[in-house]
Chain length 204, copies 2
C-alpha cells in the first residue's frame, strides 16, 4: 500500500517494511492527536525510532501525511469504482458515484479514524494527492456523461467540459473533506436530492 516518497527506490524490501511501519504508526498517531499538532519528533518517540532514522525514509512530515492521504483516497476510489461497475445506465452510475463518494468520504475521514485533520491540510495546501483525486473524480464524471450522451440518456448541447465541471461543483461540498465536515448530517439526503437535480439538468 505504501508509496515511495524518498528519492532512492533501490533500498529493497526491508526498507519498504520500515516505511510501512512508519505510515501505520503515523496513521494511528495523527488519528489520535491530529496531524497539525504532531511533530516528526513526537512520531519518532511514539514508534521508538530516532528522528534521523525516520528522515532517512521520508523527507518531511508532509511526505508521511501524503502517503496516508493517498492511501485513503485510493480506498475511496476503489469503493467508488466497485459501486458503479455494474450500474445498468449512465444515470445510475452518476447516482452511485455521488452516493459512494459521500459515504466513503464520511466513513474514511470522519468515522473510521479522526483523520479529518490531514484531509483538511491536504485540501487547504493543495497537496498532490488531493489534486490528483479531484482530477480523477472529474475525469470519471466526464466519462459517465459521454457514455450517457452516446446512449441518448443525456442532452448533447452543453459543452462537455462545462457540464462535467458544473456537476463536479455540485458534488464538491460532499467530496472535499474540508467542506464535508459542515455537511455531514445532511450529506446522504443531499446526495440523493442533488443527484436527481443533476439528472434533470442532463435530460435531453
Amino acid at each position: 500500500m505504501t508509496k515511495r516518497i524518498d528519492a532512492n527506490p533501490s533500498r529493497g524490501p526491508s526498507d519498504h517494511s520500515v516505511r510501512d511501519q512508519v505510515v501505520e504508526a503515523a496513521t494511528e498517531h495523527f488519528g489520535h492527536f491530529g496531524y497539525e499538532k504532531t511533530t516528526v519528533s513526537d512520531l519518532a518517540k511514539y514508534i521508538g525510532f530516532s528522528k534521523a532514522y525516520i528522515y532517512k525514509f521520508f523527507d518531511s512530515k508532509q511526505a508521511i501525511g501524503e502517503v496516508i492521504c493517498s492511501n485513503r483516497l485510493e480506498m475511496i476510489m476503489a469503493i467508488v469504482n466497485s459501486a458503479i461497475a455494474d450500474a445498468p445506465t449512465a444515470s445510475e452510475k452518476l447516482r452511485r458515484l455521488f452516493r459512494a463518494l459521500t459515504e466513503a468520504g464520511s466513513d474514511l475521514f470522519f468515522h473510521d479514524r479522526k483523520l479529518y485533520d490531514i484531509a483538511a491540510v491536504a485540501g487547504r495546501d493543495g497537496w498532490p494527492s488531493a489534486q490528483k483525486h479531484e482530477q480523477r473524480v472529474r475525469q470519471l464524471i466526464e466519462q459517465i456523461i459521454l457514455e450517457g450522451r452516446k446512449t441518448g440518456e443525456f442532452e448533447r448541447k452543453t459543452p462537455l467540459d462545462e457540464a462535467a465541471y458544473a456537476l463536479y461543483l455540485v458534488m464538491r461540498p460532499y467530496i472535499n473533506p474540508v467542506l464535508l465536515q459542515y455537511n455531514l448530517e445532511t450529506a446522504s439526503a443531499a446526495a440523493a436530492l442533488l443527484s436527481s437535480l443533476i439528472l434533470r439538468s442532463l435530460s435531453p
Copy 2:
C-alpha cells in the same frame, strides 16, 4: 437599523442611540479582533462605557452579535431584492439571485469588514438571524420557481418543495459564510456555471 434586544421597549430614543453606539463600536471592534476573541469587557473598555452599562442594553455578547449579523443579512437581502426586481423572466431572476447572494456575501462578510467570524459562529450555532436568512432565501427560490412554472419557463413535474430545496443546496456553499470562505476565489465563476446547470434542470 438597530433592533431591540432587551426586554424594555419603553426606554425611549436616547436608549436607542446608546444601542446604536454599542452596535457600531462592536462592529468595528469585532471586525478588527474577531468576534470570538472579544469579550464584553474588551468592548466596554473600547467604547468607554462600563460593562454593567452595556448589559443594561444587551443580555449578552451574542445579543450584540445578533444585531450585527441581522443588519448584514438585511443588507444582503436588500441587494438581492433590488437585483431581481426588474428581471424580465424567472430564469433571469434565478441567475441574479445566485450572483447577488454570492457577491454581497463576499463583500459584506469578507471584504468590507472582517466579520466572517460572527457569520461563522452564527452559522455554527444556529443563531435565529442565520436561520431566518436561510428561510427567506428558500422562500424566494420557491417563489421564483412558482413564477417560472406559471409562465411555462420551468417544468412542473418535480414536487415544488423538492425542486426548491435542491436549488438551495446547490447555492448553499456560496451563501453560507462558513462554506463561502473556502469558495471565495471561484465563487463568481461557480455561480454562473451552476446557474446554467440549475436552469437546465428546470427546463420543461
